[in-house]
Symmetry: C2
Subunit: 225 residues, 2 copies
DNA sequence: ATCTCCATGTCGTGC
DNA sequence: GCACGACGTGGAGAT
């Protein structure tokens, strides 16, 4: 990884056009060739960048001490950086990162809820996770205590688009006489009021999931029986 | 801005839990207090981060030469970084950035299309941009050559959620007897097949916009009259 | 503070 | 390769 701190101007032409007036900034060149330009605020987002795969060409220093970096990719996007007054230019070998281990995302919720489908209703049974349909997989397909099918859409945060998604699935599933009528359950750790209202309007039930409880139930050390 | 290159392990507990095993990484502390941790690949995304506003507390060096950074925010999210073998620790004053100037985003498309609404149909007239409704503004409200209202949703890339959005607007607008019937046009630089299919199913027309042409038409230097 | 929607979204995954 | 959905989405603007 190469870290440069310098005054620079930047022009990007690609999916849009953009320009950065001259200012002192951080330039980061990574081992995969990618380049990003950071200001002194916002942890996450660089002001400008080029994602890999891409190629950086560095010009000779001109009579005013300027250097031009031209970063291009296959799609014809182009990032041109003009540097001057370089304060820092450091290269460090970082090696391959072992990567981030995550816990608590939607996949976990789905796993836990599938194992404990009775959380949603007594006597309910799991048909399968990722139940395939023509327009994509339903997170969980289950049957209620009467044997009727229930399509469950799981979100970490339940918002309107999740309800729309489930609505599309239900519309399709209910066209299948072997399945219809299919009930819908919108399950999330948190459900926004607007989503709850829309769900009610569509005849979709809502269920708020408690990740800690689901995980606790799943944790053998916490089981009483 | 403070740049540190060091071996570190990272634990995050907040919206999810995550862990980074020990490896050499770049740590960036910005003037707004935000912290991000970068590996040597992917230009855009840090492995881990804490967005401002947040507070960084740095421990004393322990007997093994380790330092612990604890970054917390108001919401109770917590990022704990254990550093050792610090290779670089550099601070640079960057100042406030003048910011990015953009050209070619949805706002521009909307502006240009509003000026040239006849692109969508001969004899069409603009009612207004950002036409207000109870559930949010419609990008463009127009009238066709028969005087019928047309709601136009503009996207850079037309996907399903854009069609859903327009559908919600149309549902609402068509309840107003002073407006109904309201036609819908889904306009984008590129429309995904699934979105096109859904739009057709909902009786919504699609229009592919050419940004260069719209801009060219708007550019006084290119006008012939 | 909350809600909404855009984004050069990025990133993984399944086809 | 394309398409779809999740993301600690982030970030900006309006209510």
């Amino acid at each position: 990884m190469r870290i440069v701190i310098a005054h620079c101007t930047v022009d990007y032409a690609g999916r849009l056009s953009s320009h950065l007036p001259e200012a002192k900034r951080l330039l980061m060149v990574k081992a995969d060739g990618s380049v990003s330009i950071h200001a002194d605020d916002r942890a996450y987002k660089p002001l400008n960048w080029m994602s890999p795969p891409c190629v950086l060409k560095e010009s000779e220093r001109d009579e005013d001490g300027r250097v031009i970096w031209t970063v291009t990719n296959k799609a014809g996007e182009r990032l041109v950086i003009t540097l001057q007054d370089v304060e820092l230019d450091a290269s460090h070998e970082l090696g391959v990162d072992p990567g981030l281990q995550k816990d608590g995302v939607e996949a976990h919720l789905q796993e836990l809820l599938a194992e404990q489908i009775e959380t949603l209703g007594s006597g309910w049974t799991l048909v399968r996770r990722e139940y395939p349909t023509a327009i994509g997989p339903v997170d969980i397909m289950a049957r209620d205590s009467d044997g009727a099918h229930v399509a469950v859409e799981i979100k970490r945060r339940g918002e309107i688009d999740g309800v729309e998604q489930l609505t599309r699935y239900l519309e399709l599933l209910n066209r299948d006489p072997l399945l219809a009528p299919v009930r819908g359950v919108f399950a999330a750790q948190e459900i926004k009021p607007q989503a709850r209202t829309l769900a009610a309007d569509r005849g979709i039930e809502c269920a708020v999931l408690d990740y800690e409880v689901l995980r606790g139930m799943d944790d053998p050390s916490s089981r009483l029986f």
